[in-house]
Symmetry: C2
Subunit: 363 residues, 2 copies
Amino acid sequence: MAEEFTASPLFERVERARRRKTKIKDTHITLAHGSGGKAMHELVEGLFLEYLKNPLLEMMEDQAVFEVGSTRLAFTTDSFVVDPIFFPGGDIGHLAVNGTVNDLAMSGARPLYLSAGFIIEEGFAVEDLKRILHSMRAAATEAGVQIVTGDTKVVEKGSADKVFINTAGIGIIEWPAQISATRASTGDKVILSGTIGDHGTTIMIARGELETEIQSDTAPLNRLVEGMLEEAASVASVDAIHCLRDPTRGGVATTLNEIALASEVCIQIYENRFPVREEVHGACEILGLDPLYVANEGKLVAIVAEEIAEPLLARMKKSRYGHNACIIGEVKAEPEGIVAMQTAFGGARIVDMLAGEQLPRIC
Amino acid sequence: MAEEFTASPLFERVERARRRKTKIKDTHITLAHGSGGKAMHELVEGLFLEYLKNPLLEMMEDQAVFEVGSTRLAFTTDSFVVDPIFFPGGDIGHLAVNGTVNDLAMSGARPLYLSAGFIIEEGFAVEDLKRILHSMRAAATEAGVQIVTGDTKVVEKGSADKVFINTAGIGIIEWPAQISATRASTGDKVILSGTIGDHGTTIMIARGELETEIQSDTAPLNRLVEGMLEEAASVASVDAIHCLRDPTRGGVATTLNEIALASEVCIQIYENRFPVREEVHGACEILGLDPLYVANEGKLVAIVAEEIAEPLLARMKKSRYGHNACIIGEVKAEPEGIVAMQTAFGGARIVDMLAGEQLPRIC
């Protein structure tokens, strides 16, 4: 009754990726393993995939897509350990709902139901828990999802830091979309839905003394994606939307690298096309961060057939969370697995995946 | 397209329960709020339900049941923070898979897909992670489920204790079963699938100096439940299975209290019918524990129509995880919301829900 959703060209690429065996060399887990970058990919591919392997997990998407009965579903999970738990523009509760809503939306799914698992440190203030629940309710209402099942664990003081929240989510894929990181093709356009670096910079600043106006961009992107699917269907076909990802940990640079590797293409981007808020730019300079590697919590990267790029962009600009959308690059055949950036000064450089650890507990 | 599965008599009882407003009086979270007992019910009903309310969450079952397309699905989550992470009979990996498999099975669902979210403390040994993943794979294989999506977070040393694992799961309900804690009816029989107290006692002993042969009972119960549904269908109807719950935190006493309250009935049990391993009995005496309140991780309580009780019991006894099954009591009309026990000495006493905290981080 339950069958995996299979699409053979995707599986061929996944097969090839599987043969590129990653090994984990470290003997102990470091913060870099949670960074979203290279070390995390080693951990996931070298260990988690190795032990738990099955065709759905091996797709290495941010959500699993399968059929139950004759319905295509998406299923995803994320744990949130952000520090501090309250920050300008949101809190751990917003992140926990929006993060899972967005992972579902990136498959073209309409998010329906969420679970919520709380791990709470003994002594945590009930008032703070109320504030978090208030945010979760607000975020769920905005996204149109319901939190339908949950779990609470309490650990002794010192065995966890305040509160960690896991959400998992189920969505239904109603469009005949085949969205996957393996589908970027030569000639495709790369669209970014808005400014980069807002969330990660906010968290870094919230940990220190700096005072700014920067806020996290935490937001549900499901309605933006719904509009994109509608537009693609009306201009050509939903199938013209090839890849969708939300560039969280590791930032846009890491997300584009994941796609370039999975699709075996080169992604060419242009530095001067990236929208970065002035305050974020300034804060990143002071903090020594590159906005390309800084986490976002309300942005997406779309790789789409050239023919739909302009109408899609126009549609995105009308949406609440897409009005700064822009085309930041295109897909080339070679060199495979590479993200190349034309710099503001006219030079060219390779943009690698995040190496090491940039910001622990960013989400 | 997605509609809640509604059954009006259940909803009436849920409505009544909702009117019995629980308030949380504490200003800070204590270990008791994670115990599975009274304080946890206050936290969940007084806070989580209050903020996140929706008809599915308000069912207060261990899983949400809803229709997507024309398919009935169950969805559940649990976080695991057990200490120690390795113990006789299993580890946190086994628990994380079996716990979610069992919560799905208790709705009559066939578990299909699991998610896994890891929160790892910096410095955790990769070898230990491998051992855990090995267990998760073994447990998933035995239960016939796949772990299809996951997430990894790493927190600084001292911000979590070794590793916490969240699993969420999706199952499909193929039988026309209407299993709910609200459906216990006068005349029903109460069946327990085996010995009690094995898991909780094992964990307590693993933390101390005592040496015994006791092992955790961690096990997947989905095939046991499948057999029960088949048997019920052949004798009468699957509808004759009224309630199914796995008595984890808070033990059998707490589970029976939840059912007595939700169904507005009295559950009458007999002390001398409870199977307790001799070693568990001895350890509980030394540790000052009552096995009725000690967590189980591979047992279920079933409340079923009298007509199917004996054939169901016979069928359960043939199953790997049901061969010590026995009838431990029956359902009476009054006094409502009460669990009454006839003691081994012929007296009678009320068995309350677990109050305070018995064993933190038992699962």
